[in-house]
């Protein structure tokens, strides 16, 4: 019996030694001695989750924040805006990345769970309507024409159904799947109701798949986030959109000053009150808003006008 006990003890010791070794090894790797004194005292966890559209921005922030506060562990998950809100409203995360504003049903859940939150816009994303480069006839599309193409029960089957004089060739549509915030926003801006769309288009949650589809199909028309157009400019052609004030193509300037309308949208982070009570989370969000003008464009999005960031910082200070 004592032999057995000593063996058990030995095993436990080995296991514990291993764990401690791993722990000390990883601690050594997370810390770096740079950073100001005031923020060096910050520690703990900042947890973000949510939209894959907002992810690149939050990732950049988390990466840069390590230089300022090396002892704070910032983690970013990707479970979609809706999936992220589920965790956020269950009190599991401090911040939710959102590519749309919070829905009524989610507001009700927040009230039921006693969670108060602050909505902070952090950048613009322009939805880009694109066609194949060998498409020579489309010079621009009006919002009405887009609605004609995409509305539920649409009868547009070929290009000449849209505008007289365009070729009598079948039109093939590509767009994000119904789970994506991009789809929600496009359908709301174009069809007037979030989620209302003709169902017979090629859908993918992966925008790169849409890019590939449009590149390979002369009669294609599709839409996706501006960052994906920018990375593939030259391989797909962007279509200027006329929202009532003449055709405007999306670029850094027209999205930032709001003339590319209605297909540019703000993307958000939501901060919970319990998160804001933690010093490291508050410091991270302040850092987020400070750095947004420079970091947002690095990852393919468009910064908000300066005044919006000032307003967001004021809202944060009062939260």
């Amino acid at each position: 019996m004592s032999n057995y006990t000593s063996r058990l003890l030995f095993t436990a010791t080995i296991l514990m030694a291993g764990t401690i070794l791993l722990a000390s090894c990883s601690q050594e790797n997370t810390g770096s001695p740079t950073g100001s004194m005031a923020e060096n005292v910050l520690s703990g966890v900042v947890s973000l989750d949510g939209s894959s559209t907002v992810y690149p921005v939050s990732e950049a922030m988390a990466e840069e924040f390590r230089n300022v506060a090396p002892d704070v562990r910032v983690t970013v998950g990707v479970s979609g805006t809706g999936g992220g809100f589920k965790k956020f409203l269950a009190g599991e995360t401090d911040i939710n990345d959102a590519s749309r504003t919070i829905k009524d049903s989610e507001i009700a859940e927040a009230q039921a769970n006693g969670i108060s939150y602050l909505e902070l816009p952090v950048a613009y994303d322009g939805l880009s309507v694109v066609v194949n480069p060998s498409n020579t006839w489309v010079d621009y599309l009006t919002v009405d024409e887009l609605r004609m193409i995409w509305q539920p029960g649409s009868i547009v089957d070929s290009w000449d159904d849209i505008r007289a004089g365009w070729p009598e060739q079948p039109i093939r549509l590509y767009g994000p799947g119904t789970d994506s915030g991009t789809f929600d926003y496009f359908t709301e801006a174009v069809n007037g109701e979030s989620g209302a769309s003709r169902p017979d288009y090629t859908a993918s949650e992966d925008d790169n798949v849409l890019v590939q589809g449009i590149i390979g199909d002369e009669n294609s028309l599709g839409f996706f986030g501006f960052a994906y157009y920018k990375a593939n400019a030259g391989r797909v052609n962007v279509v200027p959109v006329d929202g009532g004030n003449g055709p405007i193509a999306p670029d850094e300037v027209t999205i930032n000053d709001g003339t590319y309308s209605p297909l540019s949208r703000p993307i958000y982070i939501y901060l919970s009150a319990s998160g804001a009570a933690k010093p490291q989370v508050r410091a991270f969000v302040e850092f987020y808003l400070d750095m947004a003008p420079s970091l947002v464009s690095e990852v393919g999005y468009i910064p908000l006008p300066e005044s919006d960031y000032i307003a967001a910082k004021a809202a944060l200070a009062n939260f």
Binding site: N29, D49, E63, V78, D207, A231
Partner: protein
């Protein structure tokens, strides 16, 4: 004998031709799947090889492709697989031993058998949902490595159990009779003879199932593994990320450099997989030799 030798010869030639045709068809099928795999690997290597260096292995994720690495994902995967192996192998092999060697062959064991076979076919996302409800929420283990490992273990247990049972069944009854007739108890027979004899087959099942676990993404995302993690897990209760999630995230990025990074990540994942399999095969051949 002689009256139809011409016809017989013809017949024989036809049959040989048919046999050759079938052999050719089999070879063709085999080689075409190897070829497709080869093309895939070639493509991945072309894309990813340039990005593969120590910097890549030893850096945390970044928005700059030049600086991005897979350190946290690689370490997370190793943690996860070690925990999964530590949980699923003892449980799976014990279950197989119980069902084959100890359980009375009745209606109950039949029921368990059918259920295990069915569980092997359940989509992995269902295990993710189960893991989220049971381990993350009910047992309050949080979105941690241990939750992920327990969920993954559930996912691969049916495969381990089925493979182990097959292996145990191939052990000849004469070995059991010999041990029992010399006065060994059932436990001694199982532990000292049946288990070692079936060990190589069990290892094969373990290799296959752990290989599946290392590439799975859906259940791990479901239970809440993260994408950006710039620290290494210090223990089983820490949050984590794994290689497959990191690769998935890079593939979905707009910038083509990240697609190449994903290819580099795939090479690392394959290397880990090969290393794991090589170790298992080494252990298997070692134990096989000892038995002779």
């Amino acid at each position: 004998m002689a009256f139809s030798s011409e016809r017989e010869k013809l017949n024989l030639r036809k049959r040989h031709a048919r046999a050759r045709g079938f052999a050719f068809l089999c070879a063709l099928v085999t080689w075409s799947s190897v070829l497709i795999l080869g093309i895939l690997l070639f493509q991945v290597c072309i894309d990813g090889f340039g990005w593969l260096d120590w910097e890549f292995i030893n850096s945390f994720p970044s928005r700059f492709p030049d600086r991005a690495g897979i350190k946290s994902a690689l370490v997370g995967t190793m943690w996860l697989i070690s925990l999964v192996a530590a949980i699923s192998i003892p449980v799976g092999v014990s279950t197989a031993l119980y069902l084959e060697e100890f359980a009375a062959k009745g209606r109950l064991s039949k029921l368990i058998e059918v259920n295990i076979a069915n569980l092997a076919g359940v989509p992995s996302i269902v295990y993710g949902i189960l893991g989220l409800a049971v381990f993350v929420r009910y047992f309050a283990l949080g979105r941690s490595l241990i939750s992920g490992a327990l969920t993954m273990s559930l996912l691969i247990l049916p495969i381990i159990i089925i493979a182990s049972r097959e292996a145990i069944r191939t052990v000849p009854m004469s070995i059991r009779y010999a041990a029992l007739s010399l006065g060994a108890t059932r436990w001694q027979t199982t532990w000292a003879h049946v288990l070692p004899a079936s060990f190589p087959g069990i290892m094969t099942g373990v290799i296959l199932s752990l290989s599946r676990a290392i590439g799975e993404t859906a259940p791990i995302i479901m239970i809440g593994a993260l994408t950006f993690v710039a620290f290494l897990p210090a223990g089983p209760m820490d949050s984590f990320t794994v290689l497959s999630i990191q690769i998935y995230n890079w593939v979905a990025r707009p910038q083509p450099e990240f697609h190449d990074l994903a290819a580099a990540g795939i090479i690392v994942l394959l290397a880990v997989l090969l290393l794991m399999n090589a170790t298992a095969i080494y252990i298997r051949s070692k134990t096989e030799r000892r038995l002779k």
